[in-house]
Amino acid sequence: MTGLGGEVIRTLLGAFAMALFPLVVVVFLIWEARKVIGRMQDRLGPTNAGTYAGPFALFQTVADGIKILTKELIIPTGADRGVFVAAPILVVTVAIAVWAVIPLGPTGLQVVDLDIGAFYVVAISALAPFSMIMAGWSSRNKYAEVGAFRAVSQIVGYEIPQVLALLIPVLLTGSLSLQDIIRAQDIAFIFVVPLAAFSFLIACVAEVGRLPFELAEADSEIVAGYFTEYSGMMFGAFYLGEFINNLTVSVIFSVLFLGGWRGPWVDQVPWLGAVWLMAKALLVFNVLVLFWAAMPRLRIDQVLAFNWKFMVPLGLVELVTVAIADKTMESLGVAQGWERSAGLLVANLVLGLAIVGVLSLVGREAKRRRSFRRPGVGAA
């Protein structure tokens, strides 16, 4: 019995460490994002103006966190109190729960290597829209409700291309375990199926609601979207959950398409895997930050049209193309190694060129049709 008890305690400690990991990383990611955004907007970002923020204001986020802990928690009149409080809890819980299967290293640096790991990530993320809809509904605020509805229709819509893109590494690996997917990437999948990586990245940006898909919290239109009414740490929970989600999608993109923890010397020093994974995730995260700083915001009809008229068809065509091209090569005897990868890459490039061709034809047609009308007519 002591053996089992010890095991439970060790598992719990590991779970706590793993749940703490994204929180700690996010503290510095927020600092990094603010610095990068500041530089891109010709500002300095957080600086060492106060006493407590440390060198380069590294601990600015910690200071912010401590400050926000002492702020009053206001529940507006007419709000549905239970749901109102449950929403921020659910955000953080769902954001952290995904980390159960994320492999930080070859062995040991993972809570549990589920054999349906990738599906677990997708299934747990299915809970995420509810926190927003709960927040929006319970606030009794029109802006909050509009924001929640925008968020939900955007997030559930972009789940489809995300899952279709996620199926491609699964299909190439023949396993849903994230460890197996990493081990299969002798060549990172981004170089094998770049179109799938592209659509996964775009879908992830939409899932986490970064610009240009930020309309759930479009501050010039609907105050702050679904968390308009939140204050103090409950607002902080939404902010935290959002950044944890950013980190999570960066890490999952790295796992699925950039080879996860793989890198030089990982075989000798297993914890180096976490460093490589975080470096790759930081790269992806900075792509998100650059989108954030550089892109204008889309309208809801544009967001939905882009999903259903471009991303979903692209995902379907890409999945069918990869599956058939791979099987055809296998029946031709090109089943293994770099030949298979090169063949898939060629198939992807051909498909990509075809898509660009179709898009340019469609665009030319639309331009021709538009020239008969006055410009500006037809915009909603």
């Binding site: 199926l167 259903w308 379907l316």
Partner: protein
């Protein structure tokens, strides 16, 4: 040896603790001086008017419907993708038919204009 599913369950409990803890801590630490003006709903400084829980466009629902169809389809594709390595070429074509039917119906509703935002 703890079963992996039990570990997942423990992790879910731990993440729930991580969700509750900051808000519970803030509730303990924060001042509680509420008054009706502070608790007003914030709608850009204007007094709120009309019904708060507004009625939404059915368009949202249409996109939800389209999502549900593709959601079920994706769920069916997971076991197929897992078995992909053992499948023959014709089995892949069967899945392509499966995907193609939905793709065709997506194109159909698109052409009919039911996916337009009005």
């Amino acid at each position: 040896m703890i079963h992996p599913f039990a570990v997942v369950g423990l992790f879910l409990v731990v993440s729930l603790i991580f969700g509750v803890a900051p808000i519970a801590l803030a509730w303990l630490l924060s001042p509680k001086k509420l008054n009706p003006r502070k608790q007003q709903v914030y709608e850009s400084g204007n007094p709120t008017f009309g019904e708060t829980w507004i009625e939404f466009k059915p368009q949202y629902y249409l996109f939800g419907l389209a999502f549900l169809a593709f959601d079920v389809e994706a769920a069916f594709l997971f076991p197929w993708a897992l078995a992909y390595n053992q499948l023959a070429l014709y089995a892949v074509f069967e899945a392509a038919v499966f995907l193609g039917l939905l793709g065709v119906s997506l194109v159909f509703v698109w052409r009919k204009g039911w996916l337009e935002w009005m």
